[in-house]
């Protein structure tokens, strides 16, 4: 009886449209309110901070309020592109490198937060950042740091020893989700504030890196995170609260002591915005705003760069070689290549506790079979540098007399023959004691260059009569296989530090209990040298030991060391003073000429 007529349809459509327009109107009002609220909040926080700011103490040599780069134009926005959005911007619990770069700066020289010490970009020595000076006790077990008098937080409050003590004590609470950091401080048992400007660290074991580690954590503000001393009364509760601190603390971005402050993090737009800390205790950064965009596909990132959407990004070797460098590109952009001492190296790890790689000759043969020069030339366009040992090749720890392990299939064949492998069945596959030479190489899935190197190696090995299977594993499973030492061969890369401690990787006890000595390397002489070096506080003699370790490892070839990579950047020409050093970039030095600041 009730037939659906055309007019019913029209009515329904009309009602839907009306409702739709009402909703849209509400959304638009909402956005306006949002913007207004944000503005109000900014004004209020500014006013509040202004009221709470303490009088600035007398200035020292580089006056607070001065600009870092004299005669440069302050202001402007710079947009930097990173490959992945960090999960959290919590300075204690972050897990990925990009959070590290944003919070501490790519060179560790402080960005949002700062630590007591940092490395000088030229000399690579430890210099004081928040600390003015430090003293090492005679027994090398106590370190006393004196803070600079002028250091303060971005809300104007002074940074005192209480903040330092709070940071380190909080880090050591077991319930805090930062196990990877806690591991380095197992031997540090006490931190105390001697007076508002002096902190003392106590360690139970002598260790040559103890000073660096004592000065290494980014300091977080106690007056914001723990005004009521919850750390003393109920550390677990505080730790849990800090664990869920991702960006905002109590509704606002936290304060730091660095030249930049966190302003906003728009997760859906993949963007973190920092603004200049105008109350910075040292010479101020030039840029008004520093924006980080996270673009996972490098094709998309390069296109965004060319369209003017970002000012700086890391290039892949292909992009460096093939997709940048035309005239249009060179007019607006600059390409920078530099090698960092902290870049680390990639390698193929042979399981030294499993046949046939427990035999040194077999490992050496494998190293003879990787055509590193050819791979570097063809796949990486000659941009990588060959690595021959576990240390930074141009640093004092590496032995400069060692050359690169050559590509020599003839020698490889001879070594394999010597080790007992022969093609007994005449089917082109090497055997020993009736078992064919077959093994599997495990690598993390999604690592494109490692996979290419593996496939080239597979082909080379097949020519000699060795069968290699490639087994990509997803990252968490891969880590588990490494931890359980369940692999024949693996591929990975390590980051490095300036004063590297080989104990983590090369000490035989690090094979136990999920240590980083996955391959089970054991050389008693290396062990002895490592233990001796740990307590050797004279850099000259210590580096001598490291060089000897380098020689021994070179002979043993527990890894086939592959490459150490460059940092390849594409930078917009409007950025000035982008200095590359062996420890990375420093955002605070950059500036943009006033005429170009508008974009």
């Amino acid at each position: 009886m009730n037939e659906w007529r055309l007019r019913d349809t029209i009515l329904v459509v009309f009602m839907v449209l009306v409702v739709g327009i009402m909703l849209l109107q509400m959304v638009q009002n909402d956005r306006l309110y949002d913007r207004v609220n944000k503005a109000i909040r900014l004004m209020e926080s500014g006013r509040e901070n202004g009221a709470a700011s303490m009088p600035v103490p007398a200035s020292t040599t580089q006056a607070a309020g001065e600009w870092l780069v004299p005669n440069a134009d302050p202001g402007g926005t710079c947009i930097v592109c990173y490959t992945a959005q960090p999960a959290t911007l919590n300075p204690l619990t972050y897990k990925d490198a990009y959070a590290d770069y944003i919070l501490n700066g790519p060179s560790g020289a402080g960005c949002v937060y700062e630590s007591l010490l940092r490395r000088d970009p030229q000399s690579l020595e430890l210099v004081g950042q928040l600390a003015e000076s430090w003293q090492v006790s005679d027994d090398h077990l106590a370190f006393t740091f004196k803070l600079r008098p002028e250091v303060r937080w971005s809300d104007g409050r002074p940074l005192t020893a209480d903040d330092v003590v709070f940071t380190y004590r909080l880090m050591k609470v077991p319930a805090l989700d930062c196990q990877r950091t806690q591991v380095y401080y197992l031997d540090m048992d006490k931190v105390e504030a001697l007076d508002p400007r002096t902190v003392r660290f106590h360690w139970t074991k002598k260790y040559f890196k103890a000073v660096e580690q004592s000065g290494g954590l980014p300091i977080i503000p106690k007056h914001l995170l723990d005004p009521d001393d919850l750390l003393e009364k109920d550390p677990d509760a505080l730790a849990r609260k800090v664990n869920s601190w991702v960006f905002e603390w109590n509704g606002a971005p936290p304060v730091g002591s660095g030249p930049f402050c966190l302003e906003s993090w728009d997760r859906t737009a993949n963007r973190v915005t920092l603004r200049r800390n105008d109350r910075y205790w040292g010479p101020k950064a030039m840029l008004e705003r520093l924006v980080f965009r996270f673009i996972t596909q490098d094709v998309a990132a390069l296109q965004t760069l060319k369209q003017g959407g970002i000012d700086l990004m890391a290039l892949s070797p292909e992009q460096w070689e093939k997709q940048t460098g035309d005239e249009a590109f060179n007019r607006s952009f600059l390409k920078r290549k530099y090698y960092r001492a902290t870049a680390g190296y990639s390698y193929i790890g042979w399981n030294n506790r499993r046949a046939p790689f427990d035999d040194r000759r077999v490992r050496q043969a494998m190293s003879y079979l990787v055509p590193r020069e050819l791979i570097n030339e063809k796949i990486f366009y000659g941009l990588q540098k060959l690595q021959n040992g576990p240390f930074y090749m141009e640093g004092p720890q590496a032995d400069p007399k060692l050359g690169q392990w050559p590509y020599d299939p003839a020698k490889a064949r001879a070594l394999l023959k010597e080790a007992g492998f022969a093609d007994t069945k005449g089917n082109g596959i090497l055997e020993r004691n009736g078992k064919p030479f077959e093994f599997s190489l495990r690598l993390p899935a999604g690592a494109a260059s490692s996979q290419k190197i593996a496939e080239v190696l597979q082909d080379e090995l097949a020519k000699v009569g060795v069968r290699m299977k490639i087994e990509p594993y997803e990252w968490s499973v891969y880590i588990e296989k490494l931890d359980q030492r369940d692999f024949d061969a693996c591929m990975l890369a390590w980051t490095a530090a300036i004063d590297d401690d080989p104990r983590q990787i090369w000490y035989s006890r690090s094979y136990l209990d999920r240590g980083s000595n996955h391959i089970g390397y054991e050389n008693p002489e290396v062990d002895r040298l490592i233990l001796a070096a740990d307590e050797d506080f004279d850099p000259t003699t210590r580096n001598e030991k490291f060089r000897r370790i380098h020689d021994l490892i070179y002979e043993d070839q527990p890894y086939t060391f592959l490459f150490t990579g460059p940092s390849l950047l594409a930078q917009s020409r409007r950025l000035r003073n982008v200095n590359t050093s062996r420890i990375g970039l420093d955002f605070r030095e950059w500036w943009i000429p006033r005429a170009l600041q508008g974009s």
């Binding site: 990877r180 997760r267 996972t296 999920r514």
Partner: protein
């Protein structure tokens, strides 16, 4: 009818439980621990790790933190109890409540899916009708071939090809290649912002819709054809009803039944993003979220995504059956 409804609703519970149990078991049985995710970065084309121990004790502490140290059945029961109060827990990776993370990521997916649905229905049904009415003629043949070709083309082929040819300064730079908005878009007023958003969504929506378009137009075409041949249409024509009226008033209404019931299954598909499209166009929606959750062993997120998807599918199935019963008087559930 009410009994039927009640019975179906009650039956949803064991199904849901079954799904959650299976997902839970698969996740726990699998190797790889969320506790052991090390600090890495993906520089130089591969993951770079920082040396330095995980010790067994630290892993245990981390597990206790995440609630993973209890036996597996106990963990499952705890999870079920929390889900009853709609508390899906806290994501291991984001350190935020799961529903908050989902709420952040659901908008892009919803936008793409709603636009896809609108586009598909607005184009497929008229297309199918047009084909059925002009059966055998050039229009029908040409569009059948075209939709057939579209149906057989995988999205992961068409998507990158669109990127190569339409987003490339070397060919035609017509569309943006990634993301949902251009830089600093939220400083725009509403309608320019909307325009920018739609501009960015053109390619993803296109990629997602062509397959459904092909399928749905085929359905409507065959449905309408069947009805056009039916006796009652012949009777109507014999009585002097015009072709147009016969098609729209009589045949179309009956052939629309299967199409409307397909609509019921839209509910689950609204929330499920396509991982492939989101990866191609760098959009972070639900598909990307679920995919990353699997890779990061973010157990609460995986369980939440699977449960919500399953729940919506069940509701969708129920709706589908109910719609069938309502629209087609020949069917009844007693």
């Amino acid at each position: 009818m009410r009994n039927y409804l009640l019975r179906r609703l009650l039956l949803m519970i064991p199904t849901l439980l079954g799904i959650t149990v299976i997902t839970f078991v698969i996740m726990r049985v699998a190797p790889g621990e969320p506790a052991a995710i090390a600090r890495t970065s993906m520089e130089g084309g591969g993951p770079v790790m920082q040396a330095g121990g995980q010790t067994d004790e630290l892993i245990r502490a981390k597990k206790a933190l995440l609630g993973l140290d209890k036996p597996i059945p106990v963990q499952y029961l705890i999870w079920v109890r929390r889900v009853m109060t709609l508390d899906f827990g806290e994501s291991f990776f984001y350190h935020q409540p799961v529903w908050m993370v989902i709420a952040e990521h659901i908008w892009p997916t919803l936008q793409i899916n709603i636009l896809t649905i609108v586009l598909v229905y607005l184009t497929a049904i008229p297309l199918g009708v047009g084909q059925a009415v002009r059966r055998g003629k050039l229009f029908d043949r040409a569009t059948t071939v075209a939709t057939f070709a579209l149906y057989a083309s995988p999205t992961y082929w068409i998507g990158p090809m669109l990127l190569i040819f339409l987003c490339n300064p070397q060919y035609c730079n017509w569309f943006p290649s990634n993301g949902l908005n251009r830089q600093f878009a939220e400083e725009l007023a509403f309608f320019p912002w909307l325009g920018d958003r739609l501009y960015h969504l053109v390619l993803p929506v296109l990629c997602q819709s062509y397959g459904a378009l092909a399928y749905l137009s085929k359905q409507s075409r065959s449905g309408l054809l069947e009805n056009l041949r039916a006796d009652y249409v012949r009777t109507a024509r014999a009585k002097g009803v015009s072709q147009w009226s016969a098609v729209f008033r009589h045949a179309l209404r009956n052939s629309v039944i299967p199409i409307i019931t397909i609509m019921a299954m839209i509910l689950p598909s609204l929330i499920g993003g396509s991982i492939i499209i989101e990866m191609i166009f760098s959009i972070q929606g639900m598909g990307w979220l679920g995919f990353n959750a699997i890779l990061q062993r973010d157990y609460p997120m995986i369980m939440a995504t699977a449960t919500i998807a399953a729940f919506l599918t069940l509701i969708g199935l129920l709706l589908q059956d109910l719609l069938y019963a309502w629209l087609d008087p020949r069917i009844s559930y007693e």
